[in-house]
Amino acid sequence: MQATRVLSLENWKRWLWTVVRFILIVGLSFVILYPIFQKLATAIKDKADLYSPIVVWIPQNYTLENFRQVISVMDYWQTLLNTFTLAGTTTILTTISCALAGYGFARLKFRGSNLLFAGVILTILVPPTTILIPMYLNLKDFTLMGIIPLLTGKPVNLLNSYWPFLLTSLTATSLKAGLYIFIFRQFFRGIPKEVEEAAYVDGAGVSTTFARIMLPNAIPSIVTVMLFSFVWQWNDSFYTTTYLTSSKVMATQLSSLPHNLAILLQGGDASTTDPFYLSMVQDTGILMAILPLIIIYLFVQRYFVESIERTGLVG
C-alpha cells in the first residue's frame, strides 16, 4: 500500500517534469525559429500587404517579387558562387594547416613546442581588432620581407583579392584558427599512443602514420572544424568588409543591400524610399543568404551533432 503510493508520487513527479521540459523545449525552439518564420512570412508578402492591418503572418497576395528583386540587386548567383568558392577554399586550407599544427603540438613534441602553443592561445585571446590596422597596411603594400619589391620593383596590393584569405588560411591564422588548432590538439591527444606506436613498429614514417592512421581516426574533429570554419567564413563580415571592398561575396553584398536597392529604386536617394519596403527586401536577402547554410546543415546536422560529442573539445 505504502509502496504503491510512493511509486505513484514518483510517477507524478516524472510526468510533471516531462511536461515542464516539453514546454521549455518547445518554447525555446520557438524563440529560435521565430525570426526565420517571420522572414519567410515577410519574404512572400506583396508590397500591398505591408501596410494592411489584417496581415500578420499569412499574406493576402503571394508574390515572388521580393526574391526576384534580391536576386537582381545582390547579383545572387554570382555572389553565391564567389562566397562558395571563398568559404570552400579557406575551409579546406584551414582544416589542413590546423590539423598539421594540432598534430604537431599534440604528439610531436620538440623543444619549445609548449611555448609555441602558448602562442596559439594568445592568438585566440587577442581581439582581431587589435591587429586589424597593421594587417590592412601590410596587405596593402605586401612585400613578403622585401622579396617581392626585389623581383618586381614595387610591393603588390593584395586587398580586394582572395589572397589575404588564402595566405592566412594556409598558415592557420585565419578567422578563429587558434580555436581549430586547439580542437585538433585535444582530439589527437585523446587517441591512444599505442595505435601510433604500432604503426611506427610496422615501419611507417611520421607522415604516413599521420595520413593513414591518425587522420581517419580524427574524422569527427575534422567535420566539426570544417563546419565551423565554413559557416563562420560565410557569415564573416569583419574580415570581408575590410579586405574585400568591391568583390561580391555574401557578407558584403548583404550589408550594402539596402543602399543598392535604394539606388535601383530611387536613383540613390535613400531618404525618399519607403523604409518598410527596404526592410522587407533586406529580410528576404538575409533569408536567401542563410538558405544555402540551412540546406547544408540539414544534410550534415546529424553527423555534426554526433561527431561533436566525440570530439576532443572536452579536454
Binding site: I32, L125, P134, M135, T173, F238, M250, A251, L293
Partner: protein
Amino acid sequence: MKAILKLKSKPKTYAQQKAIWGFVYVLPWLLGFIFFFLTPLLTSLRYSLSTVEANAQGLSIQFTGLKNYIEALTVNTSFNRALTESIINMLVNVPLIVIFSLFLAVLLNQKFFGRSVARSIFFLPVILASGVIMALESTSLIQAVNDQNSGSGVINALGSFELERIMLQAGVSEWIVVYLTGAVDRIYQIVSQSGVQILIFLAGIQTISPALYEASKIEGATGYEAFWKITFPMVSPLILVNIIYTIIDSFSRNTLTDLVRETGFTRFNFGLSSAMAWIYFLAIALILAIISYLVSKRVFYQD
C-alpha cells in the same frame, strides 16, 4: 661537403626524428603566427605609441609616447562610453549564457521524444547568429514593428512585468530582479549566443561515466542531488572554457570594434585607433586573468 652529407645521413634517434617532424608540422602555423599575428601586434603597439601620418612617401611614424592613450581616455568623446558599454554588456551576458547553456545541455542530454530534432534546432544559432546576419537582424525595421504589433512583444513585456512585481513583493533585491527580467526580455539574444557553449557542455556531460549516476541512485540520491554532486563538479572545468569562449565571442559584435574601425578607416587616425584597440585588449586580458584565477580555484579536476 662530404662532412655535411655525413652529418645529415647520420641516423637520428626516434625522439629526434619526431621532434624534427613536429617542427615541420607546426611550421605553416609558425610562419603565419610570425607574419600575420606577431608582426602586426607589435606594429600596432608601435603605432599606438606614435603619431602616424600617411603622405606621399608612405607612412611617417613619430614616437610620441602615451599621447594617443591619453587622448583616447580623456579627449575622445565616445571611447570611454563604448569601452564601458562593451565590457559591461559582456560581463552581464557571460553568467547568463553559461548558466543557460549548462541548463539546456542537461535538458538535451535527457531522453525524450524528439530529442534529435530539439538538438538540431538548438544548434541552429551556431549557424545563424554570427557576423553580418546578427548585425542586420538587430536593425530590421519590420521585425521591430511586428514585435510591437503582434502579440509576442506584448506577452513578453507583460510576462516579465508580472514577474518583476511578484519578485519585488517577495522581497528580492531590486538589482537582481532587474537583472533577471532583463534576461527574460533578451532571451533571443542569449539563446542565439549559446549554441557553441551548449555543444561543449553536452559533450562534457556525455563523458561522465554512467556508473557514477547508477551508484548515486542506489544510494538514494534524487536527480537534483545528482546534478549538484556529480554533473556540476564534473563539468566545472568546462565552465571556465565556456566563460573564455563567451568573452572572445563577444569581440566580433560590439560598439568598440566599430569605433576602432571607424577611427582607423574613415578618419585615418591609425595611432589613436591602435591605442584604443590596445586599451581594449588590456582590459579584456585583465578580466580574463581575474576570472580564470577566481574560477580555476573552485574547479574540480579528476586527476
